[in-house]
């Protein structure tokens, strides 16, 4: 059961001090590790702001590779609420039957293909493809666009051995600029066009604002979805009984999705910039310093979750923060939940078992902590029913 396990590297620090320390490009971060502190801090946007210099609330910081403000992600209330209200209906489209039918077709195709092969490298050849194709639905762009995005590799901002790669980021930014120009000249019913045509407080969104929403949409849902999908495959490889149970009791699938998101916590943490001298978890936090809300640690907080290091597939009370918390909770969560729901259903219906043949873990270096967030590569064999 070791290959699919995601350990909790934060436990000791969470119990002893409640915080962790991380240096990040000479802009240190105090990590908040307890669920209640994470929630309280996420909610307190006045003292812990998102609307800092673009890129600064992300860890590792992107201030050196990005000037465009991600929207609504890097905006504080009340402006945040205006933007959020504007984009929210679009990002709820995954609840529509047509959307779910198209996503089901895509995911079934990928699962069927995996079943037909002798082996498959899941990160590149399953999860990245699944994520990219699904993104064409969220953006309402042609299916063929997915090939371009798959060609960028697994990380939009990262390439191997280099946690922040400005050249790679430019590929995305240039692509988005081109798409905005295209949509501006020839509007369609894709997200670019809808945003360009949107009004905020009586004025049209600027191209820079549209770019901000699009960067968020591309970047926020890439590594996270890829890790959630890949980790699910690894988990089911070592827990065939869970696949069988989902097939017998499909009504627990929604709970299983929430539990896997809690256990995997695909986004380890997210930063905030402190606006005044204050305290976090009884530790001083200076104005203009950074804290982070460590979702991954909060989701293993034993004061809230029973048996936090176990996947309890039908966990009934599961107040996890895998999609963040409060004002800035994940805009793409509806899409992500549908991907997971449909993936679990498809696997449960079609797959008997999965064998892990070879793997290399993806370990995040958080200075004080090393956290497995997923896999660099994992080769498996899917066995049909």
């Amino acid at each position: 059961m070791k290959k699919s396990k995601l350990a909790d590297p934060f436990e000791q620090a969470r119990l002893e001090s409640g915080i962790g320390k991380m240096d990040d490009q000479n802009d240190p971060v105090t990590m908040l590790l307890r669920l209640k502190d994470v929630r309280k801090t996420a909610h307190n946007w006045k003292v812990f702001q998102s609307g800092a210099k673009p890129g600064r609330i992300v860890v590792p910081s992107e201030v050196n590779i990005r000037d465009t403000r991600q929207i609504p992600f890097e905006v504080d209330p009340p402006e945040h609420g205006d933007y959020r209200k504007l984009v929210e209906p679009w990002f709820k489209r995954p609840l529509e039957a047509d959307y779910q039918a198209a996503l089901t077709k895509q995911i079934n195709e990928i699962v069927d293909e995996a079943l037909s092969l002798d082996d498959i490298e899941v990160v590149s050849d399953f999860s990245l493809r699944l994520q990219s194709r699904a993104l064409t639905l969220l953006l309402n762009t042609p299916y063929s666009e997915a090939d371009t995005w798959i060609g960028w590799g697994t990380h939009v901002f990262r390439s191997e051995g280099d946690s922040l790669d400005g050249d790679k980021a430019n590929i995305l930014y240039d692509y988005i600029d081109e798409q905005i120009e295209r949509a501006s000249e020839n509007p369609s019913d894709d997200l670019y066009s809808v945003l360009l045509n949107s009004e905020l407080n009586g004025r049209k969104l600027t191209k820079e604002e549209v770019k901000g929403v699009m960067i968020l949409t591309f970047a926020g849902g890439r590594d996270t979805v890829i890790n959630a999908v890949t980790n699910s495959i690894a988990y089911f490889a070592e827990h065939p009984e869970s696949l069988a149970r989902l097939n017998d009791e499909p009504e627990i699938t929604g709970k299983a999705v929430e539990e896997l998101i809690r256990y995997f916590s695909p986004l380890t943490h997210m930063g905030r910039v402190v606006t005044e001298d204050t305290q976090v978890c009884e530790h001083a936090a200076k104005a203009d310093s950074r804290v982070s809300l460590c979702w991954a640690s909060a989701n293993r907080d034993a004061s809230v979750f029973e048996n936090p290091n176990e996947v309890v597939l039908d966990r009934k009370l599961n107040p996890h923060v895998g999609f963040g918390f409060s004002h800035h909770n994940c805009l793409g969560a509806t899409h992500a939940r549908q991907i997971m729901q449909i993936l679990l259903t498809s696997l449960a219906q079609k797959v008997k078992s999965i064998d892990i043949l070879d793997y290399e873990e993806n370990i995040e270096d958080l200075d004080q902590f090393k956290r497995k967030v997923g896999y660099e590569k994992i080769k498996v064999k899917f066995n049909p029913k």
Binding site: G254, E258, L317, N318, H320, F323
Partner: protein
């Protein structure tokens, strides 16, 4: 069988009948405006927030610690607040009136 009345933020009223499941599920299945139930009912998203009519508090009982912790950070929460994914439909709820929170 329990009759459950929702009053939405635009003051329209809808009364639904059910015998099982959670109140959130009932609301979502019947498109009660303002009840989203994003997390499917595991007390993680707080998108099913209602205020229990004060005259009906005995029907719903108290929120659990975990639910209270979620509500504590909701700006629209008060002493009558509940997350209705945590309310199981039963005869005890019959006649309850729930106001959908902002």
């Amino acid at each position: 069988m329990a009759k459950i009345t929702f009053i939405t933020t635009d003051e329209s009223s809808i009364t639904l009948e059910a015998t099982s499941g959670s109140v959130m599920e009932l609301a979502v299945q019947n498109n009660v405006a303002g009840i989203d139930g994003d997390c499917g009912g595991v007390c993680s998203c707080a998108t099913c927030h209602v205020h229990v009519d004060p005259a009906h508090l005995d029907k719903t009982g108290d929120a659990s610690e975990i639910e209270k912790d979620m509500l504590e950070l909701d700006d629209n929460a008060n002493e009558y607040s509940r997350l209705c994914c945590q309310l199981e439909v039963s005869d005890q709820l019959d006649g309850v009136i729930l106001r959908v929170a902002q």
